[in-house]
């Protein structure tokens, strides 16, 4: 592992000596509050989450056990300046993602210009043939992106993944804040934190803004796979907070290329569907015929322009790991600017030289399946056993085109409450970026995920990660810190 200790979001590089400028109130709060009191609040938070039913199911466990994601009450803080830089970078990136998707299903200029190899796009499983040639209302595809960022130093943020399909976690951003406001109100007196509870409203505005032309008072619904899905709590939370109907596939039917919702008073026309179901399952007539979750005819309604799907089918091409390494070029191509947020250096194992490099450095690299997610199908070289590395080597040689490799980054840490007291743990950050008919917005906040095991860099909730609240400080509003 890196010899130099990782950058700490609270202490910077000072190794516990001096809190970073502007974050002093958090340092004071940590000093003043006893371990027992922190512990008490931590437990109160978990009890609240359990009674709210904020649970998720873990795939691959025998019993689809309902677990709560561990929550840590020590927040991550981003200064106003840091956020300004991040959000500008996020908006630029999401703008490019939408332009890219529009292009590859339309004119395919970027392929003709040779910026991205055509076969990587067109031969990609994520290239969704049924939507080729179709343009969604207002030309927006990735209405909601959850961009995963990691940090390695004061000014070093990197994009790790562009989640442009059906990113989840935003309910935690909001519920974590609720918990913090209840349990640690004094922190909000000392720090001017920008609110995140405007997200549902912004999302609803976004959904309405992308309704098909001619829909007066468009009716939006949230389509969930159902309450056995791991993210069902979030689906229900968002539908409730937006005041829209939470529907399953069987609540909808398509007639005459129009989507209808079955209600106790008869059927009601639907204009916008925020779907939390993967492309493969949304319409058994076009995609997986065995899907019980989708709606037969939905794609026909979509292609006829009678309903907006959020996110649009086919956006998976933009967050594919094979495409990821081209993102800096994609950003330059569509914006004419240098990317404000860099990529993590990436070796494409489909290229012989990169494969060789990867094979030679397996014990240092993180190797990922291009079509995997959630931390599955992934090798973290520095923490893997010899046997794991050798097994991965064989898989990599057999199908190199399925893998990419990245350096093991010294992810930043945040003080975290554990059995061993308050210790640094690695984190990442997922802000949520919305794109409507009139542009891109980012709610000042996001989901901070923390790897609770010592030294671990895997933050996925399915792999034992936890979450933290993420404070974005308000540069305008003077904090009342110290005045009390």
């Amino acid at each position: 592992m890196a010899a130099r200790p990782a950058f700490d979001e609270l202490w910077g590089a000072s190794a516990g000596e001096e809190v970073r400028a502007g974050f002093e109130p958090l340092g004071e709060w940590l000093r003043e509050t006893s371990a027992a009191e922190l512990d008490r609040r931590q437990h109160a938070a978990e009890a609240a989450f359990r009674s709210l039913g904020i649970t998720f199911n873990v795939y691959g466990e025998d019993e689809a056990a309902e677990r709560i994601i561990p929550f840590d009450i020590i927040p991550r803080i981003l200064s106003a300046g840091e956020w300004a830089r991040l959000s500008a970078g996020l908006e630029q990136r999401v703008h490019a993602i939408n332009a890219f998707v529009d292009d590859v299903y339309g004119a395919r200029k970027i392929l003709a210009d040779g910026v991205v190899p055509a076969d990587i796009v067109l031969g990609n499983e994520q290239f969704c043939v049924p939507v080729a040639g179709a343009r969604p209302p207002h030309g927006v595809y990735a209405h909601i992106c959850g961009i995963d960022l990691v940090r390695t130093g004061p000014d070093e943020f990197y994009v790790l993944e562009d989640n442009a399909r059906t990113p989840s976690g935003v309910s935690y951003m909001i519920e974590n804040r609720e918990a913090m406001l209840r349990l640690c109100p004094e922190l909000f007196e000392r720090l001017a934190v920008r609110p995140v509870d405007t997200y549902p409203e912004l999302l609803r505005d976004t959904l309405q803004s992308v309704a098909p032309d001619g829909a007066v008072q468009p009716r939006c619904v949230l389509l969930t796979p159902g309450h056995y899905n791991s993210a069902f709590y979030e689906h229900s939370f968002l539908a409730n907070n937006m005041g829209i109907e939470l529907v399953e596939g069987r609540d909808l039917e398509v007639d005459d290329d129009i989507v209808w919702m079955r209600t106790i008073d008869g059927r009601v026309r639907v204009d916008v569907i925020y779907r939390r179901i993967d492309d493969a399952f949304i319409d058994p007539l076009v995609f997986r015929p065995d899907s019980m979750l989708g709606v037969s005819g939905l794609m026909a309604a979509y292609l006829a322009g009678n309903v907006t799907l959020v996110n649009a089918p086919g956006t998976g091409i933009a967050d594919d790991k094979a495409i990821y390494s081209y993102m800096p070029d994609i950003v330059r191509y569509y914006t004419g600017e240098e990317p404000r947020l860099p990529n993590v250096e990436t070796w494409r194992c489909r290229e012989p030289a990169s494969l060789q490099y990867t094979l030679d450095h397996l014990d240092e690299l993180v190797v990922k399946l291009v079509d995997g997610s959630g931390g599955y199908g992934m090798l973290v070289g520095p923490t893997a056993s010899r046997a794991e590395i050798e097994a991965f080597r064989a898989a990599l040689i057999a199908q190199p085109q399925r893998y990419i490799a990245q350096p093991t980054l010294a992810l930043s840490t945040i003080p975290t409450i554990t059995d061993k007291g308050i210790v640094p743990r690695h984190v990442d950050f997922r802000p949520f970026v919305l794109t409507g008919s009139s542009g891109v917005t980012t709610v000042p906040g996001g989901l901070t995920r923390v790897a609770l095991r010592e030294g671990s860099l895997v933050v996925n909730s399915s792999q034992g990660g936890g979450t933290k609240d993420s404070f974005v400080l308000d540069g305008e509003r003077a904090a009342t810190a110290g005045s009390t």
Binding site: A118, L122, P130, A132, G133, V254, D255, D256, L285, V286
Partner: protein, 278 residues
């Protein structure tokens, strides 16, 4: 050749249905070498039909039946002018770049047996077009046509292992091997005028198109071991049967279903002859 087609599909349900929704790919497009003179879809009950075009460029119709029926008959008929281009297919409207047609699908995934075949063929070498002709011949020689042996879900590998199947299986095998060889290939559904006089057929036909750099798409019929000519009427294409099938549907109610298909392909008289005789 002037071809006339009557393609009738009848569904009989054991109980009245509540709703039926179907995606039809039964309408051919005109392109270089094929001109659609007239085409129509007739349904024997009150339906809504909506025309569209899918990502492959196929003409689609969504069919909605919103009242109870126990019999549903789709009668598709029309007349088309075809010409013999030695199998070369050009200027299909809405066609996608050939790179799209390299990916495997569950129905066209090559297993051990097809990998062997692919290896064997690539060792023989030769120009791409010759390789494809060779593949076409080998499938025709190796496979026996048998309507009872396979179903719509049979994969290329399984059909090849069994050694028999229908035109759909022949096509999937061709596609699987061609893609294994790095040659884009796709499934085509359509109709065939039988010069041997078998004008009444129990199903539509299927064949393949493979992409050859200098020529573009070239069509092969592995079931008959030949390249296509003016006896072939191209209706729809896709990565495999699933995406080019004439009808995909869903329904609620209806109990069990019985399906019958009749296809008649004749050489058509000219319009003027037709009018005179009537």
């Amino acid at each position: 050749m002037r071809l006339s087609v009557n393609h009738t599909t009848t569904y009989r349900y054991s109980e009245p249905t509540r709703r039926i929704i179907q995606l039809l790919r039964v309408t051919p497009s005109s392109f270089q070498g094929q001109t659609v003179l007239s085409w129509r879809i007739d349904v024997d009950c009150d339906v809504r039909l909506r025309e569209g075009r899918d990502g492959f460029g196929n003409v689609t119709h969504m069919l909605y039946v919103d009242q109870p029926v126990q019999v549903l008959t789709l009668a598709v008929s029309g007349r088309v002018l075809t010409e013999d281009n030695a199998g070369v297919v050009r200027a299909v409207p809405g066609d996608l770049p050939h790179q799209v047609f390299l990916r495997e699908t569950p129905l066209t995934a090559a297993g051990n047996a097809l990998d062997w075949l692919a290896m064997d063929i690539s060792e023989e070498g030769g120009a791409k077009l010759d390789i494809l002709h060779g593949l076409n011949r080998r499938i025709h020689d190796r496979m026996r046509f048998d309507v009872a042996a396979t179903g719509v879900g049979t994969s290329a590998e399984d059909a090849f292992g069994a050694g028999h199947g229908v035109c759909q299986d022949f096509a999937h095998i061709f596609i699987a091997v061609a893609r294994r060889l790095g040659i884009p290939a796709r499934y085509v559904s359509g109709h065939l005028f039988r010069r041997d006089g078998a004008h009444q057929q129990p199903a539509a036909h299927a064949w393949v198109e493979a992409f050859v750099d200098d020529l573009g798409w070239v069509a092969f019929d592995p079931t008959n071991g030949i390249s296509t000519d003016d006896a072939y009427l191209r209706v729809a294409c896709g990565l495999d049967y699933r995406e080019a099938a004439p009808v995909v549907g869903a329904r609620s109610g209806g109990g069990t279903e019985e399906l019958s298909v009749e296809v008649a392909v004749h050489q058509a008289r000219s319009q003027s002859q037709w009018q005179v005789q009537n």
